[in-house]
Symmetry: C2
Subunit: 400 residues, 2 copies
């Protein structure tokens, strides 16, 4: 895995500055990068859900950037830590996952990670390899490195503590384990998401405890969901990196206009001056949709290649821009929880329940923006959706 290490100051500056939130310790990190030594760069992701989303891809893309400079990417699937549960990005107590949940979630992790980093040149670990061998005594020794006050000073814990919400003692043990990972793989640098500063700093404490050199740290900016809120799969504002090209394209097109520039920066490798040129179109009164098309095409290209990106754009353009403007769609009002099939039958859009079922089973009902097929004919209305029913009909379901 020996590669020539690139020490071009401009490239290092870009690596350290683009999209980063915090660097600890900057001076030391720069020195390491300029030394020409091949560094071990750690990134861990817990498989708490089946699909890696574009927010979690931000640190993965930074890992790739280190790889591109010739350093060793050390990726850790947190199969052990996922069971414990990291409370970092949660405002409430995080449940423990079963071993089965975790195994199910991480089935395609390697493949997904391989879309971003070059697996041939990377190390790929599961942290159960070493964490399952640790003893209770070691847990206690590691615990000695932290005070209760330090733990409670973390914003997410202190908020919950002040509100009187329960914090499980188990949650306090998470940083100890993530920290131990750094010892196990001898990390020189650790990359973390925007909410990981405490956990990655724990790595420094634990490395020191074991008499090892302390890793430096980069944490990255937060990427909001398409609607501007925190990413959450339950809010449907998440783009997963293995979404189908048309779905991915449509989802990017639904990104709030205020977030276009941030999505360019955090989700693509387009150089900053070029991003500025794109954004100038909007500033000069152009249609934001036009710029989002560039963004969507680039994001689809990254994960599916140029051809798929082209086709996804065509699909989107056909459906929305040329043939059927959303304004032409029929609006059907549905009570929350009512079956969508029944509502469409009542509105005369489908002739019968059995026609509806036939259409769904044959893949003839899709979400119009993303071309994602509806597979359950018993689907009930929970939020406003925009459907394509059969070959020509477009229906806006409005929940009342």
């Amino acid at each position: 895995m020996k590669t020539a290490v690139i020490t071009d100051p401009e490239k290092i500056k870009d690596l350290l500055e683009r999209d980063t939130e915090d660097i600890v310790v900057r001076e030391s990190l720069e020195k390491k990068l300029m030394s020409g030594k091949q560094l071990r760069v750690k990134l861990g992701i817990d498989p708490t859900s089946e699909n890696i989303h574009i927010g979690r891809a931000v640190p993965l893309r930074k890992l790739r950037a280190f790889q591109d400079l010739g350093h060793t990417a050390v990726f850790i699937v947190g199969d052990f830590t996922a069971q414990i549960g990291d409370a970092s990005d949660k405002l409430s107590k995080r449940p423990m996952l079963s071993k089965e949940d975790v195994e199910k979630n991480m089935k395609t992790y390697k493949e997904q990670v391989g879309k971003i980093i070059d697996l041939d040149k990377a190390e790929f670990h599961h942290n159960s390899t070493w964490l399952s061998k640790l003893t209770f005594s070691e847990a206690v020794l590691l615990a000695e490195s932290f005070s209760v006050q330090q733990m409670l000073a973390r914003r997410n814990f202190s908020d919950r503590y002040e509100k009187g919400e329960e914090i499980s003692l188990r949650e306090f043990m998470y940083p100890l384990m993530q920290g131990y990972d750094s010892v196990a793989i001898d990390a020189d640098i650790e990359i973390g998401g925007f909410d990981q500063l405490f956990n990655v700093k724990a790595g420094r404490v634990i490395q020191k405890f074991y008499g090892k050199p302390e890793q430096d740290i980069i944490t990255l900016q937060m990427l909001e969901g398409t609607d501007g809120r925190k990413m959450s799969s339950s809010w449907g504002n998440v783009i997963t990196i293995n979404a189908a090209p048309e779905d991915m394209f449509g989802k990017v097109m639904s990104v709030n206009d205020e977030l276009i520039e941030k999505y360019f920066r955090l989700c693509t490798a387009i150089p900053l001056p070029e991003i500025a040129q794109h954004m100038a179109i909007i500033k000069e009164g152009g249609n934001p949709k036009e710029v989002k098309m560039i963004l969507a095409k680039e994001i689809v290209r990254i994960y599916h290649g140029a051809d798929a990106a082209e086709k996804a754009q065509e699909y989107f353009t056909n459906v929305f821009t040329n043939k059927q403007a959303p304004e032409e769609a029929e609006v059907v009002e549905v009570s929350k929880g009512q079956g969508i099939g029944a509502a469409l039958k009542n509105a005369g859009i489908v002739a019968s329940s059995s026609e509806w079922t036939r259409l769904v089973d044959g893949g003839g009902v899709t979400y119009a923006e993303t071309a994602e097929k509806i597979t359950d004919s018993k689907l009930v209305a929970t939020e406003d959706v925009y459907l394509k029913v059969g070959k020509r009909k477009f229906v806006k379901i409005k929940v009342i």
Copy 2:
């Protein structure tokens, strides 16, 4: 180890009421005791110092009382937990002990414990046997049973937290382990010192977690040191159970008058009505010293037998009551930190430094109250002490 179990209600009442601070759950405990079943009664002591003192002996004596009713005493030396450090009786962070410290401390534990409980009928365990086998994962699972809030609600933690004093995360793990001990030995009942309510309750939580029946709990009253303050070897107000008879006798004689009744109750098995008779002597204007002589003789008898108790009383009477009243002793003022030998030479009590050294080496210098020998001729003055120098001289060292 099968013995007939005694279910005499009077005896059970005495067992449950004499010297107890808290019982959880009383009804359940009474039912267990009345059932005639031989119960497993747990008591654990961490070897944090070499000698068991008369305060720690209080729960040990209660364990003996259970044994006398035919139940199984299960004594646990906390050799594992001693290294972690229980913060229960501390107002500040408790340091971790090394394995060597712990091994040194517990050298004579079995012998000391054997002065109180009948070892032939008891189980004697070291908790490293099972705790050293636990994994990190199990630590996390146990941690899930407790909230940070529960931990911080403990008085000693909350006091420190409010004062901004550091609490190590390691200290939060202590109750998990003490609780696991109850699982390991299948405790029906656990006895704890006055400061152990939280830890012994943890046993109930952990037993429940492992699907075992919950133990009931007895905690005992606190025994203050001889001067009325909390017992602390650094304050010299502690009586260890393997102190020499004269030393033990003298120390009991130094107990504050207000504590005589409590020492009778917590340190002897004298029935309460009889104690009341002794105390009546004081109430009717008698000399408390007279009553303390009864107390001292009984305590020495418990740990050293009747003959030794007789002799200790004689020694005390000879030194203090008959031959030399403390009033006759010469007073030598010494600066704090000054060598006692030098001060006695200056005062003309010993002829020379070498005479002093000879006297000390020959065992000719003792603490007058206790007959304890001074073994270090370089001893410096740190507090007022009363010494016997040679065969006849009594000296009060007064630190100025």
